[in-house]
């Protein structure tokens, strides 16, 4: 693949992410989502650089802002949106929702609503791969806020100590909810933290997807050889923390500047400048993707909600003792009465 072909592919990945997130937002406006805890990854599309550098057999865990990562790893948009809407055919049968999307088929070991909660799972997956002599890498995606969770450093130490095929990927979008990263962090050089724990550490410009891809490819190769690392993508969270947050804690000048760090726009500009693609063909691509996502949205909305009885399924494996529904318990107690 030439550089331009790669960049075009990455552009497509990123456009699909943004396009999907716009549909999530629209679905919320149309009151079709399950709840309002919707965290959009607009501005962070260059994670596609990491995702494309991964191999098909690699796996990953994500955080509450993980839609984009999963799209770039091959998610079916309609099933994602269905899950976000709490529908029966969503990735998790309408049980998990936006913050718990997972798909074992695509190596998605799960989004997580606990900040830092999924990081150690990637380490454990890597442990399994190493033990089973599979040449797979597990990638833990998470935000800058999770850089302050202790479990991350326990995980890093374990990964380095055991030479595990894992890549820690921090999406530093400058904010953890309303807290700018420098208000939560004494030393912003996150790469130093990685090195102090015996890992490789690199910080890359998240508005430059090629840079992200290049670093990810290198670090994934190292990880595959048992040299884990931390890759930090510096980017900007374009919108509020969750869909309804209007970010009153930051000013519009900052936002404007932040949104100039647009990985999508910069990829587009480069493609045109490098004659990798014409503006019209990119417009056509965008339109094609928009149609795909519109379609997915309508499909998700048309899907049906889960049957209430399914609520008792999946607590344990199907062949195992199940939870007793409350009404069954009450019946057992109270029907005694009418003796």
């Amino acid at each position: 693949m030439t550089d331009n072909q790669l960049l075009l592919a990455l552009y497509r990945d990123m456009r699909r992410i943004r396009s999907l997130e716009e549909r999530v937002s629209e679905m919320f406006v149309r009151s079709e989502t399950a709840g309002s805890m919707l965290h959009l990854s607009i501005g962070e599309e260059s994670v596609a650089g990491v995702c494309r550098a991964m191999e098909a057999k690699d796996s990953f865990t994500t955080h509450h802002r993980g839609h984009g990562i999963f799209v770039a790893r091959g998610a079916e948009p309609s099933r994602m949106l269905a899950e976000i809407a709490g529908k029966a055919n969503g990735y998790c049968r309408g049980k998990g929702g936006s913050m718990h999307i997972a798909d074992m088929g695509l190596g998605h070991l799960g989004a997580n609503a606990i900040v830092g909660g999924g990081i150690a799972h990637a380490v454990g997956a890597a442990l399994a791969y190493k033990r089973k002599k599979q040449k797979r890498v597990a990638v833990a995606f998470y935000g800058d806020g999770a850089m302050q969770q202790g479990i991350l450093y326990e995980s890093m130490n374990l990964a380095a100590l055991w030479s595990l095929p894992v890549l820690f990927c921090c999406i530093n979008n400058q904010y953890g909810m309303g807290t700018r990263v420098d208000r939560a962090t004494a030393n912003l050089a996150f790469d130093e933290r990685a090195r102090a724990f015996g890992l490789a550490g690199e910080i890359v410009d998240g508005s430059d997807v090629e840079q992200v891809h290049e670093a990810a490819e290198r670090m994934l190769a190292n990880a595959r050889d048992g040299k884990p690392g931390l890759l930090v993508l510096t980017c900007y969270r374009f919108y509020g923390h969750a869909r309804m947050d209007k970010s009153p804690y930051r000013d519009s000048a900052e936002e404007e500047q932040g949104r100039r760090r647009d990985p999508l726009q910069s990829a587009r500009d480069k493609l045109i400048a490098r004659k990798g693609a014409g503006a019209e063909s990119l417009d056509a691509l965008d339109a094609e993707i928009a149609a795909e996502m519109d379609n997915a949205l309508e499909q998700a909305i048309a899907e049906h909600l889960p049957d209430i009885a399914t609520m008792f399924e999946d607590v344990y494996a199907p062949d195992q003792p199940k939870p007793t529904p409350l009404r069954a318990r009450l019946s057992a107690i109270l029907s005694e009465m009418t003796r």
């Binding site: 399950a34 709840g35 998990g96 606990i114 806020g145 309303g178 939560a184 209430i308 409350l326």
Partner: protein
């Protein structure tokens, strides 16, 4: 001073402000309590009022900042820590249960840990399995931790004020479904003393015991039951520790029937403690067993109808009451 209408959220906020004005040692700390004003807005505007020395935004380091609160409480401050969701308490149970709760005891009474850990739980926002739980049973099992769960606007204020005078750690659990509810607050008149359960509605045929949001569901259920000619007494526990079983016992010995309602999972929940105590202490006065109406023993699903179905509501409480008192089985009763 007379009562004014306000919200649960505002009452909590007012309690914090009034307490902080009186006690300079109170500091508020937690994620997003300052600039953001609290994930549920309870501390809105307080950073401006009290400054960053007393309203501390913390990094996302729950064990670290709860641990720091413990040390601060041992050193002259009275920290109010906000844990954004009670679901995150699994990260800090060591600091809560092994440290805060036991320090006075392990150190032979030398010092206490006067801190308040505020958090909120419950369903209602399709926030899924890791943001919708009711985990009070974990804390209520640990000697040394006081646990308060206000159901009313007036209690939100007064229980929090009282918690902020206590010498021992208090876990103060709000409900995400109550913040916007309106009601009367009289800052000069608590609903009742700390540690006392209150009869929120008197009745004769059955006692319904609840706390937090389930008090409201129980009151609605009592209305429904009244329409069926059943007089239900509704008791609000208010604090799980101290636990006022005397008030419950008094009621149940009179009504001879009781339902205990919690949003938390039934198995191993605090409803079991209440049921056990009532049976132990009212056995000869009971016509029927005390019945628990509690959350299903399943993680909370995200899809709204499933989420609603996983926890009790007024209808279910009323149906149970009707069955218990009048032996009218509901439609879902198994033959």
């Amino acid at each position: 001073m007379s009562a004014v209408e306000t919200t649960y959220r505002e009452a909590l906020r007012q309690a914090l402000i009034d307490a902080m004005e009186q006690d300079p040692d109170i500091v508020v700390m937690g994620e997003e309590v300052g600039l953001y004003g609290g994930a549920y807005g309870v501390t809105k505007g307080m950073l401006e009022m009290f400054g960053p020395e007393r309203i501390l935004d913390t990094p996302i380091s729950e064990p670290g900042f709860v641990g720091a609160a413990v040390g601060a409480a041992m050193s002259g401050l009275r920290p109010v820590v906000e844990l954004m969701y009670v679901d995150f308490v699994g990260l800090v149970m060591d600091q809560l249960a092994n440290q805060a709760a036991k320090i006075r005891y392990m150190f032979g009474g030398q010092i206490g840990v006067p801190m308040v850990l505020r958090s909120q739980g419950g369903t209602g926002r399709s926030a899924a399995a890791q943001h919708s739980q009711s985990l009070e049973a974990w804390m209520a099992h640990i000697p040394g931790l006081r646990v308060a769960m206000p159901a009313t606007i007036n209690d939100a204020y007064h229980l929090l004020r009282h918690a902020l005078t206590l010498p021992d750690p208090v876990v103060f659990l709000e409900h995400k479904g109550l913040y916007t509810q309106k009601g009367m607050l009289d800052v000069s008149k608590p609903d009742g003393p700390w540690g006392k359960a209150l009869v929120r509605r008197p009745g004769n045929d059955v006692t319904i015991v609840a706390y937090s949001k389930m008090v409201q569901e129980s009151l609605i259920a009592a209305d429904m039951l009244a329409a069926e000619g059943i007089s239900a007494e509704v008791i609000d526990l208010r604090t799980l520790n101290p636990l006022d079983d005397a008030t419950l016992v008094q009621s149940v010995r009179r009504t001879h029937r009781a339902i205990v309602v919690t949003e938390a999972h039934q198995t191993g929940g605090f409803s079991a403690e209440l049921s056990a105590r009532l049976h132990e202490l009212c056995f000869d006065h009971l016509e029927e067993p005390v019945v628990r109406v509690a959350g299903e023993d399943i993680p909370i699903p995200v899809s709204p109808a499933l989420e609603r179905g996983s926890v009790p509501n007024a209808q279910l409480i009323a149906e149970t009451g009707l069955w218990l008192v009048k032996r009218q089985a509901p439609g879902w009763a198994a033959e």
